[in-house]
Each structure stands twice: as C-alpha cells, then as structure tokens.
C-alpha cells in the first residue's frame, strides 16, 4: 500500500504493486475471479477441478503480468490525473489480456500440445476467446480500480481530518501562556484573592472557548468577549506594559465571524510585539464593515531583531485554513511586517445573525 509519504493531493490511488502485500492481494483477486468463472460454467458434467486449475493458471499469468506491468509503470502513471490514469490502466490491462490470450491460443495450436492430446484444455476459436476475455478483464479491472479509489479516498479523508485537528490543537493557547498565568494566579492567591478568583474564572472561560467544538461562526460580540477575557489575564501579568486599543465601533455586534480568531491573533501580537519590548506597547485592533465585507486588522510594534517565529505561522496557517473552509475564495488573510509594525488583516463576507426558526 502506498504509505503517507507521498503527500501530494493528487497522488495516484493505486496501491504499490511492487510490494509483496499487494502481490498477495492480487493473487487473491485472481483466484476469486477464477472461482466465479468456473462456478458459472459448471453444469454438473464433472471436470470442475480441472476447469478451475486451468482457469487459475491462465488468470494467474494475467494477474502477475498485470501487477508487474503496473509496478514497472508506476512512476509515469502516478504523474497522471485520476481520470486519465485510470483510463490508462484499463487500456494497459486490456491490451495485456489480449496478448496473453492470443499467446495461450497459439500454445494450444503447437504440435507439443496436440501430441499430448491436451487440445481440449485450450480454446478452439481465437476471436470469441479474445473478446470474451478482454470484456471480463475490463469489468474486473474497473471494479478493482473503483475499490482502490474508494479506499484511497477514505484513507485520505481520515488523514486530512487528522491534520486539521492537529493544526487546530497546535494553534490553541501556548503552554507559555498557561504556565505564566498559573504563576500569576499563584502569586495573587496570597496578595489579592479576589483578583485571583476572577483570573481563575477568566482562564476557565478561555479554555472552554478554546475546547469548544462550535468553532465555525459565532457573533462578533461573543468573539470579542473571548479576546477581552484573554486580555484581562495578560494585563495582570504585564501590568502597564500592555495596552490594547479597540477600534471596533463600526462593526455590528451581531455580525457572524469565524470563532476563535481574535484571541490567537491578540496572543501572537502580545507574545511577539509587546513582551519583548522593555517598555511594552500598544496592540491596535480595528474592525469595520464596508459594503458586505468585514475587515479585521491586528497590528503590533516589532523590535529590530524579532522575526516571524514558529508559533506565529501555526496560528496564521490555522486561521487561513478555517477562513478557506468557511468562505472559500472570498475569505482573505494577509500578514507581514510594515516598517516597525507587524500587521495581520482578515477579510470575509458579512452575514447578520439569522433568527433561527
């Protein structure tokens, strides 16, 4: 079977026939086909076993030669699109069957076979033999291809879902944030239990939002609340070093936005933009509705030496993936450094919250 190593989207769905596992599966398919064919011909006149071994012998030639051919042709075939690749495989196998059938027929005509009195084991008439074999071969190959295709698609879907899930997990709250918050709370439990209590509640809310499965779309109001909760926790830790400037008045509170985008962006901005500056700084979040498009911009100052780090790319990649899933071509994520600022822009179509019936 093709392992997950060839990660290309349009990789050929055929298993790798060069492997012993595929060869075994191949022999099994061949034997089952031989059994069906023999059973179909059985008319109670005896000779079932002779017929089965004769058919098996013939089909094994085809099966093994076919596997060999596909193994040998794997590289050029795997460069084809699914449709063209399948057609090519069908054509190749049909041609192979025709050649082997003709070969078998010719062997039956040789003097060696005639002398041994084994003529009855071989087909008497070439055209009928050819047409029948190629037709049966065509149908069986098509069925096998279909089977390979479906298993492959199924496997690929599982892989894609797993990747998306991993990305989502990685894009979640940083361990760095969790442990620092815990440390802040540990300190506050002594000095200011009331604030510590508030911080624990905020942290719980934040994790609940992060672990929620309803991450598709939520109202901007809810999304803003999650981001504010996060901001409150960070303010406890960073004190006056952190300022967040919200310019979101022109964005309707009931507008539907993708869930859990603001908080990771704010987290990035604070982690990369505010924490490394001894004097702190200001993160500016702008949200506006223009026509039918919502634009959200998060900007933070950047130091001289600060480059784009791993965590940053993960969060952005996850947001990009989700915007793509939700809005297709109409969702847009841009990010980059402009002068002394790092700016992330999200743009997507505006949908007012529907009154659910």
């Amino acid at each position: 079977m093709s392992s997950g190593s060839d990660g290309a989207d349009e990789s050929l769905y055929l298993p790798d026939f060069c492997t012993s596992r595929a060869a075994l599966a191949n022999v099994l398919i061949v034997e089952l086909t031989a059994l069906i064919l023999t059973l179909a011909r059985e008319n109670g006149g005896g000779g079932f076993w002779t017929d089965l071994s004769r058919t098996s012998l013939f089909l094994l030639w085809i099966g093994l030669a076919g596997a060999g051919l596909l193994c040998w042709m794997r590289a050029p075939l795997s460069r084809q699109q699914v449709g063209r690749g399948s057609a090519a495989v069908l054509l190749l196998i049909s041609a192979l069957i025709a050649v082997i059938s003709a070969g078998a027929f010719l062997v039956g005509r040789t003097s060696l076979v005639e002398d041994a009195g084994a003529t009855s084991l071989f087909p008497p008439d070439l055209p009928t033999f050819l047409i029948r074999n190629v037709s049966i071969g065509f149908v069986v190959t098509a069925l096998a291809l279909r089977y390979f295709y479906v298993t492959h698609e199924w496997r690929r879907n599982i892989e894609m879902e797993a990747t998306a899930r991993v990305h989502a997990l990685q894009a979640r709250i940083r361990p760095h944030f969790l442990f620092n918050s815990m440390n802040t709370i540990a300190s506050l439990t002594r000095s200011n239990p009331a604030v510590a209590e508030q911080a624990v509640q905020d942290l719980a809310d934040l994790f609940r939002a992060n672990l929620s499965d309803k991450r598709d779309t939520i109202t901007f109001e809810e999304e803003y609340e999650v981001a504010r909760t996060y901001q409150r926790i960070e303010e406890l830790r960073l004190g006056t070093r952190l300022h967040v400037d919200w310019k979101i008045d022109s964005l309707p509170r009931k507008a539907l936005v993708p869930g859990l985008m603001l908080q990771p962006l704010l987290e990035n901005a604070i982690y990369h933009g505010i924490e490394p500056q001894p004097g702190g700084g200001t993160v500016t979040v702008t949200g506006e509705l223009a026509g039918s498009l919502i634009t959200i911009v998060v900007r933070n100052p950047v130091g001289d030496y600060e480059s784009e780090r791993e965590g940053n790319r993960l969060a952005l990649a996850n947001i990009r993936e989700r915007l793509g899933l939700l809005y297709g071509e109409r969702g847009l994520v841009k990010s980059g450094r402009f002068g002394n600022e790092f700016i992330v822009t999200l743009r997507f179509p505006h949908v007012e919250k529907l009154n659910e019936a």
Binding site: H176, L178, F179, N180, M182, T184, I185, A186, R237, E275
Partner: protein
Amino acid sequence: MRPRVLIVDDEAPARERLRSLLVELDQVDVIGEAMTGEQAIQRAAELVPDVVLLDVRMPGIDGIEAARHMNMLEQPPAVIFTTAFDEYAMKAFDAQAVGYLLKPIRKEKLAAALAHAQRLTRPQLQKLTPQTEARSHVAAKHRDGLRLIPLDEILFFFAEQKYTTVRHLKGEDLIEDSLRALEDEFGSAFVRIHRNALISVRYLERIERNGDGQYFVRLRGCEAPLQVSRRMASELRERFRI
C-alpha cells in the same frame, strides 16, 4: 551569614511570589529586585548578591545573556534560572545541569535549589546560548561593576596584548573577549580589517589608499583612520564592491 538573594523577573506578580516564598523559607535575605536584564546586571554589580534568581525570558537582555555578563563580575553570583515554558532553554539546562526552576515555583524545590546553588562555570555558560543568538551588548569591567555597551554603538574593537579595547560612541573601554571570539559572535555586523582590528559595518564610511598603496578605513564618529592589512584589503574591497 545568610545568603543574599537578588530577584530578577519582568513580571511583577512573579517577583512578588518569589519574594513571599523566600520570606516564608526564612533561609536567605532578599536584598533587591530587578525588572530587566540590564537592571539585573547593574544591581548584581552594586549589591554583590550570593544568589540571583533569574527569569529566562525577559525583554531586551534576556536571562541567559545577563548571566553571561554577571559571570564577569569580581564576585560572580550563583545563578538559578526560572522559566515558565521555554523548550529550548530547558533542554540546554538539562544538558548542562544548571540550576533552574519551573514556574509556578514550588517552595520545596526553591529551597533545594538554594541549597545547591553554584556559580556557573565557563563551559556551562558557553553552552547556554542566549535566545537571540548573539549578545546584544558587550560588558566592560569597571571599578563599580560592569558597563554594558550596546552593540550598535560600537565603532570598532582593537586588540592589544592581553585586552581588547572597545571604541564606542561614548568613549573607550577594555573588555576580556578575544577578537576572534567577537568576530565569531558578531560576524555579520563587524568585519576584520587587520590582525588586531574588527570594525562595525554600520559605521564604515569609506576606504582610502595612500601613496604607498596602503589601505585605510574611515569610520563615522572616529577621526583617526584605521589601517587595513594587505590580506584583508582585497576581501574588504570584494565585500563592499570598492
């Protein structure tokens, strides 16, 4: 006499917590706090603590760079790093068996770390790379401690006998780093022009040649021209296409 401890962390709640834990333990005296790497180095020089509890991730000079500078003091303190979660730093600590504590810090672990606190050895320090690869400052010894010179204010390094002179915007200082080590660390911002001189690319104004075919460079903010060795001249011309 009880050990004297300096607490360094950029976050106020973290400092507060350490202080109250130390007061409860009642084994050491907290003699001061610092909020940045720069401040930590100054205070360590002034107060001469026995132990510094040093946060790894701080803005500006981070904990590991600060530790490297502090180790140059006449009486370097023992250093215990504290960190919430820094995968890379933690790996380096483990490999070097340097004392470190994970936040939120447990009282028992803090007590144990204080009991075993040791000065960092030179090889340990060398293996602990700061989070930003090269240091952002070099440190010069002074009667009253260390002077930190920001890298971008340095015009050139000049090697003499045992010491290296740093010429910077505010004057001259002596440091202990060898020219070779400095070149390895700051190679992208500085260029060697002579066996005994390493100049800042940032302040390079022009290269000139006198009648004898001898090359010199002129640096902004420095009147005297610096001699370029024959071997380095061609390299320099190539690098700056002159």
